[in-house]
């Protein structure tokens, strides 16, 4: 067995972006050291290795630093042996990247704002989110995973929907995935969260709830909601 430089993942257990990076490592069978970051008090290590965005996750592979969760997932797929995360066919790869980008750009903000706002505003974000979820539901198209028979790049990119969504639904009483229209997504969430490799790096519902309850103060939540709306 050839020795490879050590792999470290700087992250936070409650972050769905960090989970993407961890899931990729676990699915490829890459051993790594997890370094928990205090997001209220960012470490020199993190800031030195992600000076541009100052965010987690940051992957350290020897002396290489890779930032941005989806860039990390592709890097892990290419740099290590193990089952491929992206499909082989160029068009399928393009589709996987397209839908991952869709989640991060069009889908995420109204999704989060569905949980953070109230009244008529919330109605608007919920409607938009349900339309977006319907598009993703359609992408499953009877398959077990977005990647087909096994967990792949797009499943990892959408993994926030498999666990974090349920947490926010419980915390706010907002119902999204529970809707009749999203039977395939609910099935997928069960499949994804039951995957052996994924389970090793997926935080529990109560764990995530605990973290977000602790950090969510009403004025802070309002500030996040306002900032997100301004970015739209």
């Amino acid at each position: 067995m050839s020795s490879s430089p050590p792999v470290k993942l700087i992250g936070h257990f409650a972050s769905p972006f960090v989970h993407r990076a961890a899931a990729a490592l676990r699915l490829k069978g890459v051993p790594y050291e997890f370094i928990q970051e205090d997001l209220e008090n960012k470490s020199e290590l993190m800031l030195a290795n992600n000076p541009i965005h100052k965010k987690v996750p940051v992957l350290l592979h020897g002396d290489r630093a890779v930032c941005e969760s989806l860039v990390i997932v592709e890097y892990v797929d290419e740099a290590f042996d193990g089952p491929p995360l992206l499909p082989a066919d160029p068009y399928d790869r393009a589709m996987a990247r397209f839908w991952a980008h869709f989640m991060d750009t069009k889908c995420r903000t109204p999704l989060v704002l569905s949980f953070l706002t109230e009244g008529e505003q919330q109605e608007g974000f919920l409607k938009e989110t349900k339309e977006n979820l319907a598009l993703l539901e359609a992408q499953l198209d009877g398959k077990r995973f977005f990647g087909g028979d096994s967990v792949g790049y797009l499943d990892i990119a959408l993994s926030g929907m498999s666990r974090w969504m349920a947490v926010f639904e419980e915390m706010t009483g907002v119902s999204l995935l529970a809707d009749d229209d999203f039977a395939a997504l609910r099935r997928w969430a069960k499949e994804y969260t039951s995957n052996e490799a994924v389970m090793q790096c997926l935080p529990g519902i109560e764990q995530i709830k605990g973290h977000f309850s602790a950090t969510a103060k009403k004025d802070k939540v309002k500030a996040v909601a306002t900032a997100m709306q301004q970015q739209q």
């Binding site: 592979h61 860039v71 592709e74 890097y75 290419e78 393009a94 990247r97």
Partner: protein
């Protein structure tokens, strides 16, 4: 796909920097395609709405009738679907260099994102946009360093991703009251270097035209 047009069609809009990314990559690689100018400010074509129902935006690359959307997704697709076309924009055997390229190509989107806020907004939000774009350009200048291109010796993925924003910079300079030469001199030199390339020169429109277009957009949005 039955009855679908064979080959490549690029649904695009003349001044779009995202469309230009695709045009430049196709030209660099010598891949033939049909350019299809789309109506964006009026009614969008059936073909565009059918090909990109999710975003209803250009660029869209149709390959034997199958749509690929999102400029950076298209760039990756061209690398992978035409493996014999050269040059490669991403280094073939270096996963780390590829990761760096993807990171900085995605980051280059910020030039347009923040630049747009610069001409759309006034007062404090505009001042914030100004501070941000200066930082973005400084970061890009730092990443380029003393190299000829972001790809190193050769024009590559990040260069293709970033260069279409060059004709927009004079407008941003005016709205933001800064100079790229002053805050990011290596980037300014890089921009001049890239403009000499055939693929880039042929896809560019002069900054005056870009500025005219910004004024048209301002009118459309009812901005003073």
């Amino acid at each position: 796909m039955a009855g679908a047009k064979k080959g490549l069609v690029l649904l695009d809009f003349w001044v779009s920097p995202f469309g230009q990314r695709c045009r430049i990559a196709l030209a660099e690689k010598g891949i033939p395609y049909e350019y299809s100018e789309q109506e964006l400010l009026g009614a969008k074509s059936d073909l565009l709405l059918r090909s990109n129902p999710v975003h209803k935006k250009i660029p869209v690359l149709l390959h034997d009738g199958r749509p690929v959307c999102e400029s950076l997704v298209i760039l990756n697709y061209l690398e992978e679907a035409f493996p014999d076309a050269s040059p490669k924009l991403l280094p073939a055997d270096d996963a780390y260099a590829r990761a760096q390229a993807r990171f900085w190509a995605a980051y280059s989107d910020k030039v347009y994102e923040v630049g747009t806020r610069l001409w759309k907004l006034k007062g404090e939000p505009q001042a914030q946009a100004r501070a941000e774009i200066v930082q973005v350009l400084r970061n890009l200048d730092g990443e380029l360093g003393e190299r000829s291109f972001f790809g190193g010796e050769a024009f590559g993925f990040v260069d293709v991703a970033l260069v279409p924003f060059v004709p927009w910079l004079p407008s941003y300079e005016r709205y933001g009251e800064f100079s790229v030469e002053g805050i990011a001199p290596r980037l300014a030199a890089w921009a001049r270097r890239c403009a000499e390339r055939d693929s880039v020169a042929k896809s560019f429109h002069p900054p005056e035209k870009v500025d005219e277009f910004i004024n048209l957009l301002k009118k459309t949005y009812g901005i003073e």
